[in-house]
Amino acid sequence: MAAAAGARAARHSLPTRRDASPTRKALVSKRSRPRIIGLVLALSLLAAACGSTTKSTSGGAGGTAGSHLLRIARTIQDMSPDPAVWYGAPANDRQMALYEGLYTSEGSTATIIPQLALSHTVSADGLTYTFKLRPGVKFHDGTAFDAAAAKFSWARAIKINQGASYMLAGVKSMDTPDPLTFVVHLKARDNTFIDYQTSPYGPKFVSPAVVTAHAGKDDAQTWLQTHDAGTGPYTLTSLVNDQAEQMDAFAGYWGPKPYYTTIKTSIIPNVTTQVLQLRQGELDVISTGLTPADLTSFQSDSAFTTKFFPAVWTTFIMLNSNKGIFKDAKLRAAVQQALDPKLITEGARGPAGSVPDQFTPYGMLPAGKAPFSPSHDPSVLTALASKLANKNVTIEHTISIPADAQASNLVQTQLQAAGLNAKVVATNDTTMLGWPGKPNDAPDISVISLNLDTANPASYFQAYLQSKGVLNINSTSIPAGDALIDKAMSATTPAVAESTFEQAATLYMNSATTWPVTNCLSGIVAKKGIVVAHKLLDPYGISFADTKAG
């Protein structure tokens, strides 16, 4: 051992080419220095990078006295928050926190309550609405909300003509006899006019001073992409595209002060990552996109509260009666009987869904009206399918709704079992929105979850079922149904409108072209100690102003 060590020492003591010249050694050493420094810097950077991440906590009372932070996530940024442009869905909660309309709905119900209007009267011919406005309301820039501001906001929205501009398309003119009286003249009677005012997409009010100051060449559309000019309980303090948004409570808000003073929204496309962040304590609430498995898992976890709220949000099966095998009414009825809504609901939505017992979406007609419960019997379809020469059927769903993909797969399975040759295709929302009026572009079957603009049955019948409906995906055309819908729209009393819609419901139900399979619920998970509030017309978010710690 000692000999070997001696030999190694001797070998090391031999002069080598490297250390033959002290000058060269010094040069090499100098040359190496920056590399060594660089290496050390890189290693220290990496070591620091791999250090423990800071875990912030929030959700309950925290931060400075009286300040409370709520952290949420959305999978996408959504459209510009400018209320004259916005017609998205994922950011309903943001919009309702920033901007207000004349009326809103009470909690998770369809009951209409005043927001910036205290009351209104309607002329005998139904063409003139006179609104008494709420006094003492301020925009986020500190200027007062009054009738002139209301007229300015609606005129701007009509001029820009984007978003849900159809809600103001019937306005003929507006008057402002005094600062707190706003008079609207309509071109024709419209029974949904007040319902429009409660919609997240409905007409909202913007500060004329802010819009004028930042008008540019587009009526402040560019400026309002990253700022706000509303009267809502929160004001937008930052919006970084595809990264984050922050809203702070508006000190001059006319209503009750919200408990949460700051709302931070992170844009996190991957829901699994959101779930990990919620469990890690970096998020306080997840209000959309959770899978049935996620929801079931959170339900049994005592560190979280999982709640399910009703929404005007329904999954429909739509058959294309204009082409292919579903021109045959008997076959359509057989498909309706063959598909088990319970199976589809449980498989696609889990605890966040229930089987509908009415033909219209939740909350549109009183319980018991337009009852819908087709008997489940696949044998009729099996018998009819065996005689078909062409058994091919295409089922399409939008890629943006994973639950619809799952529902489509379950529809496919049941149709295959009955003898049809069904295939499932995913499409994007934009393509699907282009189908109305183009029945040859639409598939044989569409599976789609729709959240309606208002809780008025007109929002469903007129947009989705009437021949000229802008969202009549499968281009259904039933002239008798069209006439009934028109009659309901011009009815002079709510009772007449309701009974007419019921008659129309029966007609469409019997046509087996469109029917509901799931009433979707908003499944919301929050850290324990947060009491979330919800609005019926917002299936994806929470009501920030009403959410509290408790």
Binding site: L45, A49, D242, A244, N270, Q280, T430, G434, V470
Partner: protein, 332 residues
């Protein structure tokens, strides 16, 4: 060299013109109405007609194409249908984070490849295990790797953040657009650390596949270089094995791995879409997903043009590096 650069620039222009034409035709044969993409559910009646005229979709096809090419030549990539911003402005916002991620991943993959290639070629202890780990990592799909990374390094260990570019608000936005560099320039060391922490996991996910691909080519090139006469001569002069490898064999073996690096950049661009989704990275990948799901063709074309340009430029850089590393390789 000048001729080479000019030729590459010319090929870049041809590529971009072809890409533009293909994307334009794709948009026109698609059944998707761009006005529906622009206005969403509100695309009806006068609103749709007004928007169609405003965006020029009511003009003859040839007029639309000429106008489009003219716009592109003047740096105007038209209006994004889903963000309602000029596509050029969107690209200015979304491209820097993607390039920061891409360059970091490229750097990591080259370091990984160098370690894997040299350690395997020199048959150092642990080479087998290193190869096994890296090949296993490269075999895993990127989305799975990303998800596992989040579960282990964020959820279990708490070492790294799961999402975004930084945890901070109000970060500097210039001069480079690369957050780590901008934070360095502004002397904000906590932000540098925070930005590096956010970069590590997505960049590593993106880097591991290319690292193995490049490393394997490097290994075989190195092994043949190490059997070459000049290596034997270097050894016979008494140089240590590490010096033989680093100074002589590695330079001669660089050509193959450099070519592979050029190819891998394309794969990295494809992987970035998935990685940015998992890690909520605010880059071109996230923008592309939004553009595709909304049938936003102007945005899709803009992204395609940028991706094509980056690919061509990086491959030209690889060719120049190859020629510099090995004078036998002429720039043609």
């Amino acid at each position: 060299m000048t001729t080479f650069v000019l030729k590459r620039l010319a090929s870049l222009v041809v590529l971009l013109v072809v890409l533009t034409a293909v994307m334009f035709l794709l948009q026109r044969v698609s059944k998707t109405d761009p006005i529906v993409a622009y206005l969403g559910r509100g695309a009806t009646g006068p609103a749709a007609a007004q928007a169609r005229h405003h965006l020029g979709f009511d003009r003859p096809l040839i007029v639309q194409y000429v106008r489009y090419v003219d716009d592109v030549a003047h740096g105007n990539l038209q209006m994004s249908l889903h963000t309602h911003h000029p596509v050029m402005d969107d690209l200015k916002t979304y491209l820097p984070p993607t390039l920061e991620l891409l360059f970091t991943a490229l750097g990591l993959s080259l370091i990984g490849a160098l370690i894997l290639g040299t350690v395997s070629a020199m048959r150092l202890p642990g080479a087998g295990l290193l190869r096994l780990v890296m090949v296993a990592g490269a075999a895993a799909p990127t989305f799975l790797l990303g998800q596992l990374g989040v579960v282990f390094f964020y959820r279990r260990l708490g070492w790294l953040p799961a999402t975004g570019q930084t945890s901070r608000n109000g970060v500097p936005t210039g001069p480079t657009g690369f957050l780590v560099l901008d934070a360095l320039f502004s002397g904000d060391w906590p932000l540098v650390m925070d930005a590096v922490k956010h970069l590590v996991m997505p960049a590593a996910c993106l880097a591991i596949g290319p690292a193995v691909a490049i490393g394997r080519v490097l290994r075989s090139s190195l092994m043949s270089s190490m059997d070459a006469d000049y290596t034997r001569t270097a050894r016979s002069k008494g140089l240590r094995e590490s010096a033989v490898v680093l100074r002589h064999a590695l330079r001669n073996a660089a050509s193959g791995p450099a070519q592979m690096t050029g190819l891998q950049v394309g794969f990295m661009f494809a992987g970035i879409v998935v990685v940015e989704q998992i890690f909520a990275w605010p880059g071109l990948g996230s923008y592309t997903v939004g553009a595709i799901t909304n049938s936003d063709f102007p945005a899709i074309v803009g992204v395609s043009l940028v991706a094509g340009a980056v690919f061509v430029i990086l491959n030209a850089a690889v060719d120049i590096f190859q020629a510099a590393a090995d004078p036998r390789v002429a720039l043609q």
